[in-house]
């Protein structure tokens, strides 16, 4: 179950499916907040034509699982799912999706926002952007 909810994968994911997966946890869920990060065509003023993500296999998955565990302990939520894609991603495609499901909406909003901030901070995943002057590794995103 948890392996389904937290994944790193090459292929696109379906928001619908991820939401259903999180909602399965309980009929007491009254709110689901979803964050989706998508490939923008501009980054710091530079035109981007594509993205490529690399991860530290094993460690990145472990960090995402830990984020889910910590969210379940520290927020009043019922379930959380995290999916991150790696490999080549086109502009407009989804990169990452986080679902937070709770009885009341405040908890889901807080947990979801915390999770994406924490993901960016602790998960060994790197983004390369394809620009006119070639592929550039992005050194950090806020």
């Amino acid at each position: 179950m948890t392996q389904d909810l937290v994944r790193i994968q090459v292929k696109p994911f379906s928001a619908e499916r991820e939401i259903e997966l999180a909602k399965k946890a309980s009929k007491g869920i009254g709110a689901v907040v979803v964050f989706i990060g998508t490939g923008r065509d501009i980054s710091k003023g530079v035109e981007i034509s594509g993205l490529d993500f690399e991860h530290y296999p094993g460690m990145a998955e472990k960090k995402l699982l830990e984020i889910r565990e910590r969210a379940l302990v520290n927020f009043d939520i019922i379930e959380m799912g995290i999916v991150h894609r790696i490999g080549k991603i086109d502009i407009g495609e989804d990169i990452v999706l986080i679902t937070a499901a709770s009885a009341h909406r405040n908890d889901a909003f807080m947990a979801c926002e915390w999770a994406i901030t924490e993901l960016k901070r602790v998960t060994p995943i790197w983004k390369s952007e394809t620009t006119k002057s070639g592929d550039v590794w992005v050194s950090a995103t806020p």
Binding site: Y56, H84, K120, P124, W126, K127, W137, V138, S139, A140
Partner: protein, 82 residues
């Protein structure tokens, strides 16, 4: 042997994603870095950067942490996932 793993721009600059190092007993992460810099002079600035993170056996480690035979050490440029 210690397995050193490079990612993202470090991998690009090193021209490889992995390098094995033979160590005697235990060394610190800083000692290991010095060994790597001899092999890959182009990595110096990044390895010394304050924003570089280090992992030992896929868990974050301090730069003074001890590395022993069989360990996997990751040199991790700033993350940009999400």
């Amino acid at each position: 042997m210690v397995t050193v793993r490079f990612f993202a721009m470090l991998k690009g600059l090193a021209g490889t994603d992995e390098r094995l190092y033979k160590i005697d007993g235990q060394v610190t992460v800083e000692d290991l870095k010095a060994m790597i810099k001899r092999d890959f002079p182009g990595l110096g600035a990044l390895l010394d950067s304050r924003s570089l993170l280090v992992s030992i056996n896929q868990e974050f480690a301090q730069k003074g942490a001890l590395v022993k035979d069989g360990d996997e050490v990751g040199f991790l440029p700033p993350f940009s996932g999400g």
